[in-house]
């Protein structure tokens, strides 16, 4: 029996809901239909699962799928591990700690395209600063971005370079939330610094780990601009991921196929993230 008007009316949600539903939800739902069609934006011709069939038949599309997984796992794991180590280092009271934190974090804020171009120059096989430096010590540096066997990993490294600052920042916040009492108790119990790290820090910083892993995994699976700015998926299709495949199909006018790629990417994220968050949260330490 509602007689008074609530002071928190639902029309407050309306503007946001209109924008979100029209520009996000409707396209997302429509993608399920359009992925089953041959489509030129004006007329859609139903072709059943042909787009999906084609996706899993073309070797370069399958490679894109595999690359996406490799790329996401690689960047996510390296960001978490390195992020935690950097966070521990940058909370230990070392010289110039604040400045170091800023330096590690700054690339997060910088244009991905700018970073991509810069690293493409630094990784140039003959003139690039990295290989020039390697030549000084007598190493014949590889073609970082143009060797098909290496390109994906080189891009993943650039992604790590740009993104590790965010992981570090989240871990620093997570470490700050751990009461020093635990470390004192562990020291009284005779734990070494390494034991403190494994027995106290790692378990208690778990909420931050969950965040870092989930965020960077979602980011890695959706990654596009860093790849597009450095290799455009090349050489060949060596560093193509789903997002770049989608863009290429879109450019070529295969709208139905591009949309099927979108649905596959969506399904992939859901298949990985939902069980993972469920598993990570289930195991959370109760404090």
């Amino acid at each position: 029996m509602i007689r008074q008007k609530s002071p928190y009316p639902y029309w407050f949600v309306l503007p946001a809901a209109v924008v979100f539903v029209t520009l996000f939800l409707v396209p997302t739902l429509a993608s399920l239909w359009f992925s089953l069609t041959r489509w030129d934006l004006f007329t859609a011709h139903f072709i059943g699962l042909d787009n999906y069939r084609q996706f899993f038949k073309e070797p370069f599309l399958i490679q894109g799928l595999g690359n996406t997984l490799v790329y996401a796992v690689l960047t996510s794991v390296s960001k978490s591990v390195l992020g935690l180590l950097l966070a521990v280092l940058l909370t230990s009271g070392i010289l110039w700690q604040g400045f170091l934190r800023a330096v590690v974090f700054f690339p997060v804020l910088v244009s991905t395209i700018g970073i991509g171009i810069t690293f493409a120059a630094l990784m140039h096989p003959t003139k690039g600063a990295i290989n020039v430096a390697l030549a000084w010590v007598g190493i014949d540096g590889p073609a970082w971005l143009s060797d098909p066997a290496l390109a994906l990993y080189s891009v993943a490294f650039i992604d790590l370079w740009k993104g590790v600052g965010l992981a570090t920042l989240i871990y620093i916040a997570g470490l700050a939330a751990i009461s020093p009492d635990y470390y004192e108790a562990a020291r009284i119990d005779g734990a070494t610094r390494l034991q403190q790290f494994w027995r106290v820090t790692v378990p208690l910083v778990r909420p931050a780990t969950v965040t870092v892993v989930t965020l960077s995994l979602i980011g890695g699976l959706r990654s596009f601009d860093i790849i597009w700015a450095t290799t455009k998926g090349g050489p060949g299709f060596a560093s193509d991921v789903l997002a770049s495949v989608i863009y290429k199909q879109y450019q070529a006018g295969f709208y139905g196929l591009a949309t099927a790629g979108n649905v596959i990417l969506f399904a992939l994220i859901a298949l990985i993230i939902l069980p993972l968050t469920w598993w990570l949260n289930k195991r959370e330490v109760d404090l």
């Binding site: 996000f24 244009s111 700018g114 120059a121 916040a173 997002a243 990417l265």
Partner: protein, 274 residues
Amino acid sequence: MKPHQRNAGLAALAVAFVVFILPFLFTFLMAVKTKKEAALFLFSWPSEWQFWANLTEVVKARNYMLLLAYFNSTLITLAAVSGLVVMGAMVGYVLQRRASGWNRLIYAGVLMGLMVPPAVVPTIWVLQGLGLFKTIHGMVLIQIAYGLSFSILLYRSFIGTIPRDLDEAARIDGARPWEIFFRVILPLLKPVTVTLIVVQSIAIFNDFTNPLYYLPGKENVTVQLTLFNFQTQFQSQFNLLFMNILLVTIPPLLVFIFFNRQIVAGMTAGGVKG
């Protein structure tokens, strides 16, 4: 400071210098070199400083396209961030204050927004249907749609710290719902609003993918698109390309220097549960 902390600091500084600072230094040096010298890609001090010459040439290139790009990017960023502040705060407010079955639906939407990659081609189809494709305001609405989830969560958790007594006092004082929100709640959200503005401005200003899809064409270029297009155009003029990178890096650098604290708060908010 203990000796090992100083030594570790010095070692870390050295590594950080090589890994994180040298690439930026490289960008800067490339940007001030002559065309010929830049083409060598060498990590060397410029023999001839061409800062102003390169700067003016980049700005003038393609009929002052960079200025147009800055104008467009700034416009999109300002409009989208304003929308995100007001809409995000309104939803976060109702979500935090009012318990009902609708909340589950809203949360489901928020979660989708955080996780699901946008279906780009169908979005173009919708934009075309609405006459918003290739328009600045279409781009603004897209940025709002994509940024809403983060804004809502950030505001919702902050509004949880504002006592309900204030809403009730305002109600008794005769405030209508929108007056409670705009005159009492919204002013109190200032700290988190600053954080949101800073974080979202950087994200939207740096966005490349969405303008690439939804804002093609010369009239509506954005800063990141221009930079990307210059890459092919300045194939032989690396000094200008890197000058462009330098110019694109400066706004976030300034924001970082002035709003470091707010950025840290906003970025770690993702890790705060609840």
